[in-house]
């Protein structure tokens, strides 16, 4: 093994039923290096990592790890951890109903003399760990008490704490806000100095250039190349990932589509609120308008949308849909008024994992029709095929279980589920989270196309650039209340930042 190399994977091959997931992929990582693993959805990033950590069994190839003679094969993640490979996956894979301390030390709890768990010591150790990482967490509380972002940080803390040689971060930043990302990067740099090799999987290009030393690019399960960061500027990286030149995103919004205030009102909310999540707000949305909700993570962006949709029931205020006053008790009421909601937590609230792509697509349509009007199988197949083709969903067949698809394709299926209902008003909560740049553009274009056809859209995203590209108007939220709206000239990166920070009225 070469000097300084901590991990070397050679010629990895792996097949899923019907799909060649990885073909002859190499991956090398040096000590004290942060290497980005880049590629579009379904390029094989997650699969490669799962091969490394023993979740997937690869068919051919060898893995070498510093300090171990000969090729290694990990039986499972426990085995990988023992060898010094720790992972934090895209979605938080901890136990929500255990305490933070228990989650941190699960499987390696400090013991008392009589071989019971030494809770006092465990809590002390956990508290110290949290303090070292500058996290404000009560370690005796259940994990589920904390936001997704904090849970993610705790997951990383857990991985970091297990003396690891290789730390794999699979989309760790997709649910973190800027502050937390900065904190995480601090943590990563500290680890780099200690000689840990870090594999960083992300879709945020800026972050790659902020923190990484090298980039490995995959496309369609094959290796495109291994580069140092200087060798591969942004445009070249995008080209390498997509295999074609980067479709410039800046100009997808047609000219003169800004002002929709003369169009009829679709949503007219007055004083809606839900205790504990969102304070009373007013919001007007016109036909064919794309309105962005912006604010820091946890500022009430998602919660505002959920109240309109009835996912959380409004406790005060009135809601008019198409000029008619309505009460929405449940999502189905909202759906019957022509609404749809694509939730931000795809795994928990989006996909029905054990059902097929077809069943997932027709789900909302079936719910609207009711239990007694089953959509005939031929019709189901027709609808499913139409959307698989239209959104270019990559799946082995329409009967493949949705949980076997990559994240971006799952998202497309959920999108198809709502498009199938022909909504007048669609709420998209982080529709592009964890999705590659090509698909992101597709989704953004789709949103604009929908708006042109008269659908109103609430678009929620953590990426301001993306919202600027798609939205006619933005509502700004801070600490659970709507603090203002920006439109027209103010719609710029700077204007939005200012508004979020508290500069706007």
């Amino acid at each position: 093994m070469e000097n300084n190399v901590v991990l070397s994977m050679k010629g990895i091959c792996m097949t899923f039923p019907g799909v060649k997931a990885l073909e002859n992929v190499d991956f090398n990582l040096k000590k004290g290096e942060i290497r980005a693993l880049m590629g579009e959805n379904g390029a094989g990033k997650s699969t490669l990592i799962k091969c490394l950590t023993g979740v997937n069994k690869f068919e051919a190839g060898e893995i070498y790890l510093d300090g171990i003679d000969g090729p290694i094969v990990n039986k499972d993640t426990m085995d990988a951890q023992k060898k010094g490979i720790s992972t934090v996956y895209q979605e938080v894979n901890l136990c929500p109903n255990l305490s933070v301390a228990e989650n941190l030390f699960i499987g390696r709890e400090p013991m008392t003399k009589i071989r019971t768990v030494n809770r006092k010591k465990m809590n002390e150790m956990a508290a110290k760990l949290m303090k070292d990482l500058d996290l404000d967490v009560d370690v005796t509380q259940n994990l589920e008490e904390y936001s997704l972002a904090l849970q993610q940080m705790i997951a990383i803390a857990r991985a970091v704490d297990m003396d690891c040689k290789v730390l794999i971060l699979d989309e760790p930043t997709s649910s973190l806000d800027d502050n937390e990302v900065a904190k995480l990067f601090g943590m990563m740099r500290r680890l780099r100095e200690q000689g840990v090799g870090i594999v960083f999987v992300t879709h945020f290009l800026e972050q790659v250039y902020e923190v990484c030393d090298g980039i490995t690019v995959l496309r369609n399960g094959t290796l495109v190349g291994e580069y140092s960061i200087e060798e591969l500027p942004r445009v070249k990286l995008v080209a390498a990932m997509m295999g074609k030149d980067f479709d410039d995103l800046a100009s997808i919004k047609p000219e003169g589509s800004g002002d929709k205030s003369k169009e009829p009102l679709v949503i007219d909310a007055k004083g809606l609120s839900h205790a504990g999540t969102i304070k009373p707000f007013d919001l007007e949305i016109h036909k064919g308008e794309v309105i962005g909700l912006t604010g820091l993570l946890g500022s009430g962006r998602s919660e505002l949308a959920r109240v309109i949709y009835g996912a959380d029931r409004a406790q005060t205020g009135t809601l008019k849909v198409k000029e008619k006053e309505v009460t929405i008790k449940n999502p189905i009421d909202a759906m019957n008024l022509g609404m749809g909601l694509l939730p931000d937590d795809r795994k928990a609230e989006g996909i029905i994992g054990d059902l097929s792509v077809r069943e997932n697509i027709i789900l909302a349509m079936q719910a609207k029709l009711g239990i007694f009007k089953k959509i005939p199988m031929a019709k189901q197949i027709e609808i499913a095929d139409k959307f698989i083709e239209m959104l270019q969903i990559k799946t082995a067949s329409r009967e493949t279980l949705i949980k076997q698809l990559s994240g971006g394709n799952q998202q497309k299926v959920i999108l198809a589920r709502w498009l199938a209902t022909n909504p007048d008003f669609l709420i998209l909560d982080e529709p592009t989270r964890g999705i590659d740049i090509g698909t992101k553009t597709e989704i953004q274009k789709l949103v604009i196309k929908l708006a042109e056809d008269g659908t109103s859209v609430i678009f929620i995203s953590s990426e301001i650039e993306e919202m600027l590209r798609t939205c006619n108007r933005m509502a700004v939220l801070r600490d659970g209340s709507k603090v203002g709206e920006i439109s027209g000239e103010e719609l710029s990166q700077e204007g939005v930042m200012k508004a979020i920070a508290g500069g706007a009225k």
Partner: protein, 355 residues
């Protein structure tokens, strides 16, 4: 070879395989003891009614088969089991007999109220029990086993109360008919067949199956997609109660008396086992009704076989347990994986030889 592969890949392969396994034991036993080898399958007509071990399995298995319908839906939608069905059976039979005989009367030869009223009341009380269970599970978020534990203990006791702690006999032919014979065929077989047929038609023509599975797999996502998850779960428990009611009446008519202490005793376990033997995950989600029904009759086939082998009813549970362990292990994932590996190796070896 390809055909064989296709067959083993079928969803119902293992439940059917288990059933055949049990039948094979019969055949082997018959050969060993000098009987005609297919005597298990022999159906004859004695005294104007169908007779034979197979008929016995179908007849005696009716109650569990009916219960398995409801249990399958409950397991799928709520990832839990309804352990009250045995007690609810007893309660439903008890109320029906109490009404037919009149309170405090233990032996009648004519009805106190019309037969249909008694039966309807029995089924209605079972549905109310289902409603109660479903309310606790779906709206109060109580774990299914805990929620149904209430009626598991109270249901039978209420039945006993209604019957004034007596065994109430209803010696009327039209009552006995439902546990006896309809022409040459045992009536319970027909009732079970009708229940299964209705259930499968409902699942085929309505979207109920999709609703239940979707809610069972991901309750939150189902709600966002417009399903009223709580209502669906409630509905499943009501259906389960309904099935327990029908099953309870069949069991009661069979012995034309409300023996509330014994009707449906431990039957909930058989119903749960039937669901599991049918290849359904008790963790909820996807379900296969046909599998559960086959599972139900498999359980009865085991019992009948053991009696035919001369095992006493006190010892039967031990042997039953052994057979159940075998079947469950055959269906388990590690064993499936092992066989998959084995066949892959064989194929590889074959290829190597051909090359």
């Amino acid at each position: 070879m390809d055909k064989l592969k296709k067959i083993t890949k079928m969803k119902l392969f293992l439940p059917i395989f288990s059933m055949i396994l049990v039948m094979m034991i019969n055949v082997i036993y018959d050969i060993a003891s000098g009987n005609p080898p297919l005597s298990f399958f022999t159906i004859s007509i004695n005294n104007g009614i169908l007779y034979g071990r197979l008929i016995d399995v179908l007849n005696r298995g009716s109650e569990v088969a009916i219960l398995a319908i409801g249990m399958t839906l409950v397991v799928s939608a709520s990832a839990g089991t309804d352990i009250s069905v045995g007690s609810v059976m007893s309660l439903s039979g008890g109320l029906c007999c109490m009404l037919l005989a009149g309170y405090g009367v233990t032996n009648v030869s004519e009805y106190n109220v019309p037969l249909w009223a008694g039966m309807l009341a029995g089924i209605a009380i079972a549905c109310v029990c289902g409603l109660f269970n479903g309310f606790l599970v779906a709206y109060m978020n109580i774990q299914p086993m805990v929620a149904t534990l209430i009626l598991w203990s109270a249901g039978r006791a209420i039945g006993l109360l209604l019957c004034n702690s007596n065994i109430v006999y209803v010696r009327v032919p039209s009552f006995q008919f439902f546990g006896g014979y309809c022409g040459i065929i045992p009536t319970p077989i027909i009732i079970a067949a009708v229940c299964v047929a209705i259930a499968s038609v409902v699942l085929r023509v309505t979207a109920l199956g999709t609703y239940i599975q979707s809610v069972g797999i991901n309750k939150k996502a189902s709600r966002i997609s417009g399903f009223n998850s709580a209502k669906i779960i409630l509905l499943c428990y009501v259906i389960c109660g309904l099935c327990a009611g029908i099953s309870g009446l069949v069991a009661t008519c069979r012995i034309y008396s409300a023996d509330t202490n014994n009707i449906g005793l431990n039957m909930e376990l058989d119903a749960i086992l039937a669901v599991a033997l049918g290849g359904n995950s008790l963790g909820g989600g996807k379900f296969n009704l046909a599998g559960s029904i086959i599972g139900a009759y498999t359980i009865q086939a085991i019992t009948t076989t053991l009696y035919a082998l001369g095992v006493s009813s006190a010892q039967a549970p031990v042997f039953k347990a052994i057979v159940v362990i075998l079947i469950v292990v055959i269906q388990s994932q590690p064993v499936k994986d092992y066989f998959k590996k084995l066949s892959a190796k064989k194929a590889a070896a074959k290829e190597a030889v051909q090359a």
